[in-house]
Symmetry: C2
Subunit: 373 residues, 2 copies
């Protein structure tokens, strides 16, 4: 179980296969986020039609509601949310540390206030792993601390705690049918990131994640940090870049050796009326689309683009119709899933540099076709 094969390489980019109890992940892979045990506004059947392989669910949210014991009682997350493929749960760390002012960190763990009922709750490495074992995802994450990436003293302190919690997370693990991934922290500081990657690499995790990125640092800091970390991480384990997911970041991450991604971006943008295209984002509420009979992106093969006009989508958004979120989520998720599939094919044919250059040039183009303005 959890056998990891790199089946093709192109520069630092890898195409691989990760065997999980619920199917084989073909990487690079993008995971739609199902925070509360549902990818918002999308049925599992639709997710499946999109070709999604892996879904992420959030331990923090499910811990608070409906509670991990209910999920376990209902047969675990796969059964509960009816996603038969691989699932990954995070550790809850990221959400808890985002609750500035309402959480208290100590060496043992974190105490925080529930955003649902205001009750005081606690997460430690042992509690987090215990919850994730109850939820029953295929891939679970060590409990870590995500520091503000540009504050060096805090980044060092958070990294130390992350290391001690990594050991405790490993020690708490009981189930053999789940892979536990370790998380590298260290902000945007090369020394810290190298130290963290070296330390975490030695602990016997079944995969490695780069945490604490895409949280306010510059793009160049982010890409450099990925390079620094991946230069240290072992080649023979999968690498997961947490919470990252613009089309550009997917491409830049893959070029630097990342295998797994997740992000709320495609579904969150969808709920705000924005759509990803080959030429960047467009906001469908824009008046220029009011009479536009064209699909979001004429090159796109998704259900939304095969059927609906921008004028119709704009009408749905204007009229506050739920279908707007569904149709835009289908399109935006398709964009990222398709990009990951194309990256895999490009790696397999040794053309990932060309593919990336063409796609990035289009995304960053200053001479976009008028229809994408």
């Amino acid at each position: 179980m959890f056998e990891w094969t790199v089946s093709a390489r192109d520069g630092s980019a890898r195409a691989g296969e990760l065997v999980t109890p619920h199917g084989v992940l073909q990487t690079p892979v993008f995971a739609p986020v199902g925070t509360q045990a549902t990818v918002k506004a999308i049925t599992p059947a639709q997710l499946n039609e999109l070709g999604a392989q892996l879904v992420l669910a959030n331990t923090y949210h499910l811990f608070l509601r409906p509670g991990e014991s209910l999920v376990a009682e209902m047969g675990g997350l796969h059964e509960f949310m009816q996603w038969p493929g691989p699932i990954l749960t995070d550790s809850g760390g990221f959400q808890v540390f985002s609750l500035a002012g309402t959480r208290k960190i100590d060496a043992d763990g974190v105490t925080f206030k529930s955003h649902i009922d205001g009750s005081m709750r606690r997460l430690t490495p042992e509690i987090s792993v215990g919850i994730q074992e109850q939820l029953g995802a295929d891939i679970i994450m060590a409990f870590d601390e995500c520091a503000i990436p540009t504050d060096q003293a805090y980044a060092a302190e958070a990294m130390q705690r992350t290391h001690s919690w990594a050991i405790r997370s490993l020690g708490a693990k009981k189930r053999n049918d789940q892979a536990l991934f370790g998380i590298v922290q260290g902000g945007i500081f090369r020394d810290l990131r190298e130290e963290s990657a070296r330390f975490i690499s030695t602990l016997g995790f079944q995969g490695f994640a780069i945490g604490g990125l895409s949280v306010g640092e510059s793009k160049s800091d982010m890409y450099q940090t990925i390079e620094v970390v991946n230069a240290v991480l072992p080649e023979d384990k999968p690498r997961y870049l947490m919470g990252v997911g613009t089309p550009e970041d997917l491409i830049e991450g893959v070029l630097r050796g990342v295998d797994i991604f997740d992000c709320v971006l495609p579904t969150r943008l969808a709920r705000h009326g924005a759509a990803l295209t080959r030429f960047g984002r467009i906001n469908l509420l824009n008046a220029t689309f009011a009479h536009d009979p064209q699909p979001i992106d004429s090159d796109c093969q998704c259900y939304t683009c095969q059927h609906f006009s921008r004028a119709y989508l704009r009408h749905l958004i204007n009229a506050k119709e739920m279908l707007a979120a569904t149709l835009l989520s289908l399109h935006n998720l398709h964009s990222l899933l398709q990009t990951a599939r194309e990256l895999r094919a490009a790696i397999q044919s040794g053309q990932v540099q060309q593919y990336a250059e063409t796609a990035l040039n289009r995304l960053h183009s200053k001479n976009k076709p008028e229809v994408f303005l």
Copy 2:
């Protein structure tokens, strides 16, 4: 076009086929409501999987937003909302007359305040038919006045206006690829309903609707009124009971010779967490369902019941997830569509009385199985 065949009879109940430019309706038929050119929270692909045949859209809403000329510019309603099957639009009358206090009725039409931008707008029989011709549904409705059904003086006055507007609606019609249905009014008063049905029958409409029911009158008044009207309406035209749609009312209507139904009930209940079952409604937010691993209705073949537990649905509602509305809408729509299909089969096999008795006994049962309490 619009050929109507009654292919089976069982008592007053009829099974028929209505040929429209976008397909043949097999009646009895229940039409999901797509008020703003979308059945809320459902894609056209999902509607098609449900076996929906006919969709209703509201002239009042589309007149105000996005406007009938935009819909026409985008190729008409079928193209705009990507529903390839038959569509029916109402006349806007019902919505306008529901705006008590903000609308002014005269002999020529109605002036009212838009609920969207507060602007003053006007509908007359000619304007309503003109809008409906722009929208391009297969079946369109005469502009009528829906009175409070229990106020006899007002019901008589509204009926007279409805009759004069029926003649004007017919006179305003230009397109040959749309069927125009006339509407019978008259509240709950036998004399008025008989007079109205006789008058409307003489005008050359391609089908007839019973308006002004399910708006506050008792069930027995409603059922009796249907009987009174259908005894007068010609056998050789389809009959449409407007805005009616509980499972009970569907059955009672079919027994009394109704062919077409529409109602927002299944999708509206869904958005409030309520589900239709063989044994009546259940509210999934009820704490008794918190740990319930069973589907809404173990006999139901819909996507929701084939996959999801009540516990999961309750979690989605609790967490205010959009998927709750989608999954419950799929189930509730399936319930009514399936009831219509079963009624058709029962009529064809001469067993509609038995079918109705069994179904109504179950719905009204005082000894429901515990799981449906």
